[in-house]
Amino acid sequence: MSALSVDSVQRAEQTPDERLPYAELGMKDDEYQRVKEILGRRPTGSELAIYSVMWSEHCSYKSSKVHLRQFAAKAPKSDALLVGMGENAGVVDIGDGWAATFKIESHNHPSYVEPHQGAATGVGGIVRDIMAMGARPVAVMDSLRFGAADAPDTRRVLPGVVEGISSYGNCLGLPNIGGEVAFDPCYIGNPLVNALCVGLLRKDQIKLATAPGPGNKVVLFGALTGPDGIGGASVLASATFEEESQAKRPSVQVGDPFMEKLLIECCLELFAADVVVGIQDLGAAGVSCATTELAAKGTGGMDVRLDLVPLRDPSLRPEEILMSESQERMMAVVTPDDIDAFMAICAKWDLPATVIGEVTDTGRLVMTWHGETIVDIPPGTAADEGPVYERPYHEPAGQAALNSDDAARLERPTDLRATLLSLLGSPDLSSKEWVTGQYDRYVRGNTVLAQPADAGVLRVSEVMPGATETNRGIALATDGNGRYAKLDPYAGAQLALSEAYRNVAVTGARPLAVTDCLNFGSPEDPEVMWQFAEAVRGLADACKILGVPVTGGNVSFYNQTGSVAIHPTPVIGVLGVLDDVRGRVPSGFTGEGARVVLLGETGEEFGGSAWAHVEHGHLGGLPPAAVLEAERALATVLVEAAAQGMLTGSHDLSDGGLAIALAESCLAHGVGCTVTLPGGDPFTDLFSESAARALVTVRPEAFAVFAALCGRHEVPYAGLGLTGGSSLTVEGVLDVPLDELRTVHEGTLPAIFG
């Protein structure tokens, strides 16, 4: 075939035996055979491009689908759920006619290859998912995991990732209100960059990715199409890293946050003018994904003139246009009557917009290139009917040995003060100010709480012109713990959900819904697949008990270097609502003279703990028990106490247990405390990581009522002492001036990253 000729449908029919590079595009023999059966001929190069990206693990969820079905099958009944899984993002009713839409997504592999752009475009992609629901994006947060903090490659990856998130998110004008930063050697060749975005919209303004109405126009708008990330979806997102990652550099996309900011404002104006019938963002698989998904969910057919796609590089071939992952592009379906108004709004924002096709009722997605037909397929076969695999799985060979290597055998410390300082200064538990200080947390003027608070809290205000005012607020938290999940993926997923749920509740918000980012190794490894199956089963079961449905998310497989997979790492985001955001509970100790109260029950639980990890480099035994009924009761108490104004501060207990919670609470506002431990073994009291616990400060005059509230919901409580002074004093055990705590807490990351 000459350089200028094109592989048309006609040519495909005439050359049935021509070999296409399906294997190089990540497609298996039997998958290619199925494409031929669907079409009744060999596919054209353009058709192969579409099927290869749409049937990639990244787009089709072919290995995970059979497990993910549990989220729907076991979903708790929820009056709040407006749009569930399967759309760009889930939508939840938050009251007063308002809805929130949120989702978390991974950009792990690109962030290893090119940390800055990989992380930046991760933010850009998730923001467009939220825009596609008809919402104004109002905040982002990130869950980040890197190799050991002092490893040389972490010094390459972490600053690049942080700078990418910082430059893209800040320039976009979205506050970054929380997230996580964690370190473990298992992520050294495969960092995790999971980005979450939340948006707000009026309940009656939800937009969907659909192309109904024959004769309606298909408009591509936003950035021009260039040779970015071609093959990225199927090659980058599905390939395991070996030595050749340098060769992959060109397939990482480059982001332009200025263009994305214009796209946000333009889309909101288009929605307000009511000139959009259906809308889809262009993410992985670009035009291939947008056209097949819109057509499959609409009337069923679409004609597209691919040569009309405006290009940044005029030499691009149709196959490349179909696979290009150029950022900051959207596709809309618009009625002929509204098309002029649509174009005028795009022009106001200086955004290129081009009608590239039309909705039809033929049931076929037909694309032409300078008059020649190059694609003619039933769109649903690419979008929805990809392969589904029942991958084999079994418990890892070493799992039993791992679980029997109990942390109870580890030597206990005698100097608890030294243990506290050692944990507080460890990279995982140290202050993340070096990272979060590079993010704008204030823009848009509605940030009520941001890092290092347990959850980010936003006021629901001035989202779009003319909307009625409300005092409502939303709270968001993400959590994950790879060590727990490695020891027991079923419990690990439940503990991640429990912690995010608890982090939302400690602000006084009622948890409503869940998004998940499931980061695992290769699904072709039965031991990894077992971890995945267990984690999904655990998460679905826990969501049912906690009454919070999964609304959407993302699966990221192939997170491994060579044959070594990362710890299974389900990262869970929980969204909650505050009926009156003015009643939110700030993080930590906010003033002197408040009663310090520990809620929940402490057992001897050190498997996977921060203490075992930091002091002994040990990972073994079982993680803390996930106690979901207790989590639910705890949240009920926290939400009711906040609504009644009993609390002056709160903080959840997680990694590092009570000791770290006390230290962080003191440092939050520079207020010390003097407490007495409940009376068991001081080491267990301070460092155990039992779930379903929180530390609160109660107004002294409200203590009796608060105690009664705890009693009603059977939440154990223990008064520990009072806030005040300039040191953290645990009577008879340890006493550390706040200045010393602060120095230890804040010094770690700057010492490593400058």
């Binding site: 700078e163 910082s166 430059s167 800040n170 320039c171 004008g173 332009d256 946050p257 200025f258 263009m259 900011k261 214009l262 924002w349 200086d350 979060t436 200080g437 590079q438 993010y439 704008d440 947390r441 204030y442 823009v443 848009r444 003027g445 509605n446 940030t447 009520v448 006021r459 001035e462 955001v581 003015r582």
Partner: protein, 230 residues
């Protein structure tokens, strides 16, 4: 008497315009949206140039914005005495437009910085700072990657000699010369600030406290006084 009208300019890529308008309203004024492509200042009493990344900060922060159609009206109006406050990107635009001396370059630490910053008000002698007292210490958020104030030695000496420093950092975050966080023109009507007073006007949101509100109450008062005296 009607409330003072403060124009809030939106360029493509402006981010803190909604926040600035809210702060004006919060202080009792009427925010008037001004679009970069317009050529009409709509008879406002003062103009606020908010922060952001106008035109993507391409070429150089503020370098393209100064040529916007609206700026062709704003620059002569400012020279004629119209009160103008530029924060962050707005400050950068005012320097690029030569309404203020000096320039803002990449932070000394090379990182973007978002923090609640302690500041000292050096001059209460502008229509934007009259509600403060000289020497008053305040906390107002900063959030910028290119906020390091620089000027040649002669300019810097003149700025200091004329009392044009309006706000100084306490604990210099970005390497600004002489800890300069904000300056004014010689006439005093044009002020540029790296800190964001619009993010310190409510207890519930933004930075701690409401120390930024004074910039907005100051301009509303001085606008009204002008009306009364006119």
């Amino acid at each position: 008497m009607s409330a003072a009208r403060v124009g809030v300019v939106t360029f493509p890529g402006t981010l803190d315009d909604q926040d600035a308008a809210r702060a004006v309203r919060h202080a009792g004024g009427e925010p008037v949206p001004l679009w970069h492509a317009d050529t009409d200042l709509k008879g406002v009493d003062a103009v606020f140039l908010p922060g952001g990344f106008s035109y993507g900060d391409y070429l150089r922060c503020g370098a393209i914005s100064r040529f916007a159609p609206l700026m062709e009206q704003l620059i002569p109006a400012a020279r004629a005495g119209l009160p103008v406050l530029g924060t962050c990107n707005g400050f950068q635009i005012l320097c690029e437009a030569h309404l203020l001396p000096g320039a803002l370059v990449k932070n000394a630490g090379l990182h973007y910085i978002c923090r609640d910053q302690r500041l000292r008000i050096e001059s209460a002698d502008t229509p934007w700072t009259a509600d403060y007292t000289a020497g008053q210490e305040v906390v107002i958020p900063i959030k910028h990657g290119e906020g390091r104030y620089v000027a040649d030695a002669a300019t810097l000496a003149a700025v200091e000699a004329n009392g044009q420093v309006v706000v100084r950092y306490l604990g210099n975050p970005n390497g600004s010369l002489n800890d300069i966080a904000g300056i004014r023109n010689e006439a005093g009507n044009v002020v540029g600030l790296m800190p964001h007073p619009e993010h310190a006007v409510e207890e519930l949101t933004g930075g701690p406290g409401t120390d930024g509100l004074g910039f907005f109450t100051s301009i509303l008062k001085s606008s009204l006084e002008k009306l009364v005296n006119a």
